[in-house]
Symmetry: C2
Subunit: 161 residues, 2 copies
Amino acid sequence: MGVDCHHTESAQPGLEGAALASAVAAAETKCERTRERLTPPRRRVLELLLEADGPMKAYDLIAAYGQDGEPAKPPTVYRALEFLERLGFAHRIESLNAYVPCRMEGTSHRAAFLICECCGTAEEFEPDFAPQFAAAEAAGYAVRTVTLEARGLCPACKGGA
Amino acid sequence: MGVDCHHTESAQPGLEGAALASAVAAAETKCERTRERLTPPRRRVLELLLEADGPMKAYDLIAAYGQDGEPAKPPTVYRALEFLERLGFAHRIESLNAYVPCRMEGTSHRAAFLICECCGTAEEFEPDFAPQFAAAEAAGYAVRTVTLEARGLCPACKGGA
DNA sequence: AACCAATGCGTTATGAAATAACATAACCCG
DNA sequence: CGGGTTATGTTATTTCATAACGCATTGGTT
Protein backbone atom coordinates (compact mmCIF):
# COMPACT_ATOMS: atom_id res chain seq x y z
CA MET A 1 0.00 0.00 0.00
CA GLY A 2 2.54 2.65 -0.83
CA VAL A 3 4.56 2.33 2.31
CA ASP A 4 5.40 -1.27 2.77
CA CYS A 5 5.08 -3.09 5.93
CA HIS A 6 3.45 -6.44 5.52
CA HIS A 7 0.52 -6.85 7.77
CA THR A 8 -1.93 -9.32 6.41
CA GLU A 9 -4.92 -7.16 6.97
CA SER A 10 -6.59 -4.43 8.80
CA ALA A 11 -7.29 -3.84 12.44
CA GLN A 12 -10.83 -2.64 12.00
CA PRO A 13 -13.12 -5.52 12.80
CA GLY A 14 -16.36 -5.78 10.92
CA LEU A 15 -19.64 -6.34 12.69
CA GLU A 16 -21.38 -9.68 12.83
CA GLY A 17 -24.34 -11.39 14.38
CA ALA A 18 -26.27 -9.33 16.85
CA ALA A 19 -24.14 -6.22 16.51
CA LEU A 20 -24.67 -6.22 12.79
CA ALA A 21 -28.38 -6.78 13.09
CA SER A 22 -28.66 -4.01 15.59
CA ALA A 23 -26.74 -1.56 13.42
CA VAL A 24 -28.97 -2.35 10.50
CA ALA A 25 -32.04 -1.99 12.68
CA ALA A 26 -30.86 1.39 13.81
CA ALA A 27 -30.56 2.50 10.21
CA GLU A 28 -33.99 1.13 9.54
CA THR A 29 -35.42 3.17 12.37
CA LYS A 30 -33.76 6.32 11.21
CA CYS A 31 -35.16 5.80 7.76
CA GLU A 32 -38.64 5.38 9.04
CA ARG A 33 -38.40 8.63 10.88
CA THR A 34 -37.63 10.49 7.68
CA ARG A 35 -39.90 8.43 5.46
CA GLU A 36 -36.97 7.04 3.55
CA ARG A 37 -36.92 3.46 2.44
CA LEU A 38 -34.18 1.03 3.31
CA THR A 39 -34.92 -1.25 0.38
CA PRO A 40 -33.30 -4.65 -0.11
CA PRO A 41 -30.36 -3.50 -2.23
CA ARG A 42 -29.68 -0.62 0.10
CA ARG A 43 -29.87 -2.82 3.13
CA ARG A 44 -27.65 -5.39 1.53
CA VAL A 45 -24.94 -2.87 0.67
CA LEU A 46 -25.11 -1.41 4.15
CA GLU A 47 -24.66 -4.88 5.60
CA LEU A 48 -21.64 -5.50 3.43
CA LEU A 49 -20.07 -2.26 4.53
CA LEU A 50 -20.73 -2.99 8.18
CA GLU A 51 -19.37 -6.52 7.95
CA ALA A 52 -16.18 -5.44 6.25
CA ASP A 53 -12.86 -5.10 8.02
CA GLY A 54 -12.02 -1.92 6.19
CA PRO A 55 -12.95 0.30 3.30
CA MET A 56 -14.71 -1.54 0.51
CA LYS A 57 -14.26 -0.75 -3.16
CA ALA A 58 -17.42 -0.51 -5.21
CA TYR A 59 -16.49 -3.58 -7.20
CA ASP A 60 -15.79 -5.53 -4.03
CA LEU A 61 -19.34 -4.77 -3.04
CA ILE A 62 -20.55 -5.75 -6.47
CA ALA A 63 -18.74 -9.07 -6.23
CA ALA A 64 -19.90 -9.78 -2.70
CA TYR A 65 -23.47 -8.70 -3.24
CA GLY A 66 -25.24 -11.96 -3.90
CA GLN A 67 -25.45 -14.42 -0.99
CA ASP A 68 -25.21 -17.11 -3.61
CA GLY A 69 -22.07 -15.69 -5.16
CA GLU A 70 -23.86 -13.88 -7.93
CA PRO A 71 -22.44 -10.40 -8.37
CA ALA A 72 -24.68 -7.36 -8.57
CA LYS A 73 -24.86 -5.13 -11.58
CA PRO A 74 -22.82 -1.96 -11.02
CA PRO A 75 -25.74 0.49 -10.97
CA THR A 76 -27.40 -1.48 -8.21
CA VAL A 77 -24.51 -0.91 -5.90
CA TYR A 78 -23.73 2.62 -6.98
CA ARG A 79 -27.31 3.63 -6.44
CA ALA A 80 -27.37 2.08 -3.02
CA LEU A 81 -24.15 3.85 -2.13
CA GLU A 82 -25.56 7.14 -3.24
CA PHE A 83 -28.53 6.62 -0.98
CA LEU A 84 -26.42 5.56 1.99
CA GLU A 85 -24.20 8.57 1.59
CA ARG A 86 -27.12 10.90 1.28
CA LEU A 87 -28.53 9.66 4.56
CA GLY A 88 -25.16 9.66 6.28
CA PHE A 89 -24.94 5.90 6.69
CA ALA A 90 -21.82 5.64 4.61
CA HIS A 91 -18.96 7.75 3.41
CA ARG A 92 -16.90 7.65 0.31
CA ILE A 93 -13.18 7.98 0.82
CA GLU A 94 -12.10 9.87 -2.23
CA SER A 95 -8.43 9.14 -2.07
CA LEU A 96 -9.15 5.43 -1.94
CA ASN A 97 -12.15 5.14 -4.25
CA ALA A 98 -13.68 3.20 -1.42
CA TYR A 99 -16.55 3.27 1.01
CA VAL A 100 -17.01 2.83 4.73
CA PRO A 101 -20.04 2.75 6.98
CA CYS A 102 -20.42 5.86 9.08
CA ARG A 103 -19.14 5.33 12.58
CA MET A 104 -20.06 8.70 13.99
CA GLU A 105 -23.50 9.44 15.27
CA GLY A 106 -25.47 12.42 14.19
CA THR A 107 -23.17 13.10 11.33
CA SER A 108 -23.97 15.68 8.79
CA HIS A 109 -22.12 17.14 5.92
CA ARG A 110 -18.65 16.54 7.15
CA ALA A 111 -16.44 13.51 7.43
CA ALA A 112 -12.82 13.13 8.32
CA PHE A 113 -10.58 10.11 8.14
CA LEU A 114 -7.19 8.95 9.26
CA ILE A 115 -6.09 6.51 6.61
CA CYS A 116 -3.28 4.09 7.28
CA GLU A 117 -1.16 3.60 4.18
CA CYS A 118 0.15 0.35 5.53
CA CYS A 119 -2.80 -1.67 6.75
CA GLY A 120 -5.48 0.19 4.86
CA THR A 121 -7.74 1.03 7.77
CA ALA A 122 -9.63 4.26 7.72
CA GLU A 123 -10.63 5.62 11.07
CA GLU A 124 -13.33 8.21 11.15
CA PHE A 125 -12.96 11.03 13.57
CA GLU A 126 -14.80 14.14 14.56
CA PRO A 127 -13.19 16.95 12.71
CA ASP A 128 -14.24 20.31 14.12
CA PHE A 129 -13.78 22.34 11.03
CA ALA A 130 -15.13 25.41 12.73
CA PRO A 131 -12.16 27.62 11.89
CA GLN A 132 -11.80 26.66 8.23
CA PHE A 133 -15.51 26.66 7.86
CA ALA A 134 -15.84 30.12 9.30
CA ALA A 135 -13.03 31.39 7.13
CA ALA A 136 -14.68 30.05 4.02
CA GLU A 137 -18.02 31.58 4.88
CA ALA A 138 -16.32 34.85 5.67
CA ALA A 139 -14.85 34.79 2.18
CA GLY A 140 -18.37 34.53 0.83
CA TYR A 141 -18.53 30.81 0.22
CA ALA A 142 -21.58 28.79 1.04
CA VAL A 143 -20.07 25.53 2.17
CA ARG A 144 -22.21 22.45 1.73
CA THR A 145 -19.93 19.54 2.55
CA VAL A 146 -16.40 19.14 3.79
CA THR A 147 -14.21 16.11 3.66
CA LEU A 148 -10.79 15.68 5.12
CA GLU A 149 -8.48 12.78 4.50
CA ALA A 150 -5.25 12.45 6.41
CA ARG A 151 -2.87 9.76 5.25
CA GLY A 152 -0.07 8.22 7.21
CA LEU A 153 0.59 5.34 9.52
CA CYS A 154 -1.62 4.12 12.30
CA PRO A 155 -0.12 3.40 15.73
CA ALA A 156 0.16 -0.33 15.04
CA CYS A 157 1.92 0.04 11.72
CA LYS A 158 4.10 2.87 12.91
CA GLY A 159 5.40 0.90 15.83
CA GLY A 160 5.93 -2.50 14.24
CA ALA A 161 7.40 -2.79 10.77
CA MET B 1 -22.49 20.69 -11.99
CA GLY B 2 -24.77 19.28 -9.38
CA VAL B 3 -26.31 22.54 -8.33
CA ASP B 4 -27.52 24.28 -11.39
CA CYS B 5 -26.94 27.80 -12.13
CA HIS B 6 -25.78 28.35 -15.63
CA HIS B 7 -22.55 30.24 -15.79
CA THR B 8 -20.66 29.53 -18.92
CA GLU B 9 -17.40 28.96 -17.21
CA SER B 10 -15.12 29.59 -14.36
CA ALA B 11 -13.80 32.71 -12.79
CA GLN B 12 -10.26 31.51 -12.33
CA PRO B 13 -8.16 32.99 -15.11
CA GLY B 14 -5.29 30.95 -16.47
CA LEU B 15 -1.86 32.42 -16.92
CA GLU B 16 -0.50 33.49 -20.26
CA GLY B 17 2.48 35.19 -21.82
CA ALA B 18 5.00 36.56 -19.40
CA ALA B 19 3.20 35.43 -16.27
CA LEU B 20 3.11 31.89 -17.58
CA ALA B 21 6.74 31.94 -18.58
CA SER B 22 7.73 33.28 -15.23
CA ALA B 23 5.76 30.64 -13.35
CA VAL B 24 7.39 27.92 -15.38
CA ALA B 25 10.80 29.48 -14.85
CA ALA B 26 10.18 29.51 -11.12
CA ALA B 27 9.44 25.81 -11.21
CA GLU B 28 12.55 25.27 -13.26
CA THR B 29 14.63 27.03 -10.66
CA LYS B 30 13.15 25.07 -7.83
CA CYS B 31 13.91 21.86 -9.65
CA GLU B 32 17.50 22.80 -10.20
CA ARG B 33 17.93 23.43 -6.53
CA THR B 34 16.85 19.92 -5.70
CA ARG B 35 18.47 18.25 -8.70
CA GLU B 36 15.13 17.29 -10.11
CA ARG B 37 14.52 17.48 -13.82
CA LEU B 38 11.69 19.45 -15.38
CA THR B 39 11.71 17.43 -18.57
CA PRO B 40 9.66 18.35 -21.64
CA PRO B 41 6.57 16.33 -20.81
CA ARG B 42 6.59 17.55 -17.24
CA ARG B 43 7.02 21.12 -18.33
CA ARG B 44 4.29 20.77 -20.90
CA VAL B 45 1.78 19.42 -18.41
CA LEU B 46 2.67 22.14 -15.94
CA GLU B 47 2.08 24.74 -18.65
CA LEU B 48 -1.29 23.29 -19.45
CA LEU B 49 -2.32 23.38 -15.82
CA LEU B 50 -1.16 26.95 -15.42
CA GLU B 51 -2.91 28.10 -18.58
CA ALA B 52 -6.19 26.51 -17.64
CA ASP B 53 -9.13 28.42 -16.21
CA GLY B 54 -9.93 25.71 -13.73
CA PRO B 55 -9.22 22.15 -12.69
CA MET B 56 -8.13 19.97 -15.60
CA LYS B 57 -9.07 16.34 -15.98
CA ALA B 58 -6.30 13.96 -16.93
CA TYR B 59 -7.88 13.28 -20.29
CA ASP B 60 -8.25 16.99 -20.95
CA LEU B 61 -4.52 17.25 -20.49
CA ILE B 62 -3.99 14.25 -22.72
CA ALA B 63 -6.11 15.83 -25.44
CA ALA B 64 -4.45 19.23 -25.15
CA TYR B 65 -0.93 17.95 -24.87
CA GLY B 66 0.36 18.27 -28.43
CA GLN B 67 0.75 21.80 -29.80
CA ASP B 68 -0.22 20.31 -33.11
CA GLY B 69 -3.37 18.73 -31.79
CA GLU B 70 -1.87 15.32 -31.28
CA PRO B 71 -2.95 13.87 -27.97
CA ALA B 72 -0.46 12.38 -25.55
CA LYS B 73 -0.53 8.78 -24.47
CA PRO B 74 -2.09 8.44 -21.01
CA PRO B 75 1.05 7.32 -19.18
CA THR B 76 2.92 10.38 -20.38
CA VAL B 77 0.49 12.67 -18.65
CA TYR B 78 -0.05 10.54 -15.57
CA ARG B 79 3.68 10.28 -15.03
CA ALA B 80 4.10 14.00 -15.37
CA LEU B 81 1.28 14.59 -12.92
CA GLU B 82 2.86 12.25 -10.43
CA PHE B 83 6.07 14.20 -10.65
CA LEU B 84 4.36 17.58 -10.35
CA GLU B 85 2.44 16.44 -7.32
CA ARG B 86 5.53 15.01 -5.71
CA LEU B 87 7.28 18.33 -6.02
CA GLY B 88 4.28 20.31 -4.94
CA PHE B 89 3.72 22.01 -8.30
CA ALA B 90 0.29 20.52 -8.71
CA HIS B 91 -2.48 19.01 -6.67
CA ARG B 92 -5.01 16.38 -7.43
CA ILE B 93 -8.54 17.19 -6.36
CA GLU B 94 -9.90 13.82 -5.41
CA SER B 95 -13.55 14.65 -5.45
CA LEU B 96 -13.23 15.94 -8.99
CA ASN B 97 -10.69 13.55 -10.48
CA ALA B 98 -8.94 16.66 -11.63
CA TYR B 99 -5.73 18.59 -11.24
CA VAL B 100 -4.73 22.15 -10.53
CA PRO B 101 -1.41 23.93 -10.34
CA CYS B 102 -0.34 24.79 -6.85
CA ARG B 103 -1.09 28.38 -6.02
CA MET B 104 0.41 28.45 -2.56
CA GLU B 105 4.05 29.02 -2.04
CA GLY B 106 6.19 26.80 0.10
CA THR B 107 3.52 24.19 0.24
CA SER B 108 4.17 20.85 1.74
CA HIS B 109 2.06 17.86 2.45
CA ARG B 110 -1.22 19.61 2.83
CA ALA B 111 -3.67 21.15 0.44
CA ALA B 112 -7.12 22.51 0.92
CA PHE B 113 -9.69 23.61 -1.61
CA LEU B 114 -12.95 25.44 -1.81
CA ILE B 115 -14.73 23.91 -4.75
CA CYS B 116 -17.66 25.65 -6.35
CA GLU B 117 -20.28 23.17 -7.46
CA CYS B 118 -21.73 25.66 -9.85
CA CYS B 119 -18.87 27.16 -11.82
CA GLY B 120 -16.33 24.49 -11.12
CA THR B 121 -13.57 26.66 -9.77
CA ALA B 122 -11.34 25.30 -7.07
CA GLU B 123 -9.67 27.86 -4.89
CA GLU B 124 -6.71 26.74 -2.88
CA PHE B 125 -6.37 28.11 0.59
CA GLU B 126 -4.06 27.79 3.52
CA PRO B 127 -5.64 25.30 5.83
CA ASP B 128 -4.02 25.39 9.27
CA PHE B 129 -4.71 21.88 10.31
CA ALA B 130 -2.77 22.29 13.50
CA PRO B 131 -5.56 21.10 15.79
CA GLN B 132 -6.62 18.03 13.79
CA PHE B 133 -3.03 17.28 13.07
CA ALA B 134 -2.06 17.43 16.71
CA ALA B 135 -5.00 15.29 17.69
CA ALA B 136 -4.03 12.65 15.18
CA GLU B 137 -0.44 12.55 16.31
CA ALA B 138 -1.58 12.39 19.90
CA ALA B 139 -3.60 9.31 18.98
CA GLY B 140 -0.41 7.73 17.72
CA TYR B 141 -0.79 8.40 14.04
CA ALA B 142 2.12 9.51 11.91
CA VAL B 143 0.43 11.82 9.46
CA ARG B 144 2.11 12.21 6.11
CA THR B 145 -0.33 14.18 4.01
CA VAL B 146 -3.64 15.88 4.56
CA THR B 147 -6.15 17.01 2.03
CA LEU B 148 -9.31 18.91 2.61
CA GLU B 149 -12.01 19.56 0.06
CA ALA B 150 -14.91 21.83 0.87
CA ARG B 151 -17.73 21.91 -1.63
CA GLY B 152 -20.35 24.56 -2.00
CA LEU B 153 -20.96 27.78 -3.85
CA CYS B 154 -18.48 30.54 -4.47
CA PRO B 155 -19.48 34.15 -3.80
CA ALA B 156 -20.29 34.80 -7.45
CA CYS B 157 -22.50 31.76 -7.88
CA LYS B 158 -24.13 32.16 -4.51
CA GLY B 159 -25.17 35.70 -5.21
CA GLY B 160 -26.40 35.45 -8.79
CA ALA B 161 -28.33 32.44 -9.95
C1' DA C 1 36.34 7.71 -23.64
C1' DA C 2 33.92 3.46 -22.06
C1' DC C 3 31.05 1.70 -18.81
C1' DC C 4 27.15 1.21 -15.79
C1' DA C 5 23.31 2.15 -12.83
C1' DA C 6 19.39 4.99 -12.40
C1' DT C 7 15.87 7.53 -14.21
C1' DG C 8 12.64 8.85 -17.64
C1' DC C 9 10.15 8.11 -21.94
C1' DG C 10 7.32 5.84 -25.81
C1' DT C 11 4.12 2.35 -26.79
C1' DT C 12 0.68 -1.28 -26.54
C1' DA C 13 -2.59 -3.14 -24.03
C1' DT C 14 -5.57 -3.78 -20.21
C1' DG C 15 -7.75 -3.02 -15.87
C1' DA C 16 -10.79 -0.47 -12.65
C1' DA C 17 -14.35 2.87 -11.57
C1' DA C 18 -18.56 5.05 -12.73
C1' DT C 19 -22.56 6.38 -15.41
C1' DA C 20 -26.08 6.83 -19.45
C1' DA C 21 -30.26 5.40 -21.02
C1' DC C 22 -34.39 3.08 -21.04
C1' DA C 23 -37.79 -0.35 -19.64
C1' DT C 24 -40.29 -2.29 -15.73
C1' DA C 25 -41.98 -2.64 -11.06
C1' DA C 26 -43.40 -1.09 -6.36
C1' DC C 27 -45.13 2.53 -3.45
C1' DC C 28 -47.93 6.26 -1.82
C1' DC C 29 -51.77 9.00 -1.75
C1' DG C 30 -55.94 10.95 -3.19
C1' DC D 1 -58.35 2.26 -8.84
C1' DG D 2 -55.65 5.91 -11.13
C1' DG D 3 -51.62 8.45 -11.65
C1' DG D 4 -47.37 10.56 -10.10
C1' DT D 5 -43.11 9.45 -7.89
C1' DT D 6 -39.50 6.65 -6.51
C1' DA D 7 -36.75 2.53 -7.02
C1' DT D 8 -35.01 -1.37 -9.62
C1' DG D 9 -33.24 -4.40 -13.56
C1' DT D 10 -30.48 -4.54 -17.56
C1' DT D 11 -27.41 -3.47 -21.42
C1' DA D 12 -23.91 -0.88 -22.91
C1' DT D 13 -20.57 2.62 -22.74
C1' DT D 14 -17.62 6.13 -20.93
C1' DT D 15 -14.15 7.77 -17.99
C1' DC D 16 -10.09 7.21 -15.28
C1' DA D 17 -5.71 4.91 -14.39
C1' DT D 18 -1.90 1.56 -14.58
C1' DA D 19 0.94 -2.77 -16.05
C1' DA D 20 4.62 -4.19 -18.63
C1' DC D 21 8.40 -3.87 -21.66
C1' DG D 22 12.15 -2.02 -24.35
C1' DC D 23 14.80 2.03 -25.59
C1' DA D 24 16.99 6.61 -24.61
C1' DT D 25 19.18 9.86 -21.76
C1' DT D 26 21.63 11.26 -17.73
C1' DG D 27 25.25 11.47 -14.54
C1' DG D 28 28.76 9.38 -12.03
C1' DT D 29 33.08 6.20 -12.10
C1' DT D 30 37.09 4.23 -13.62
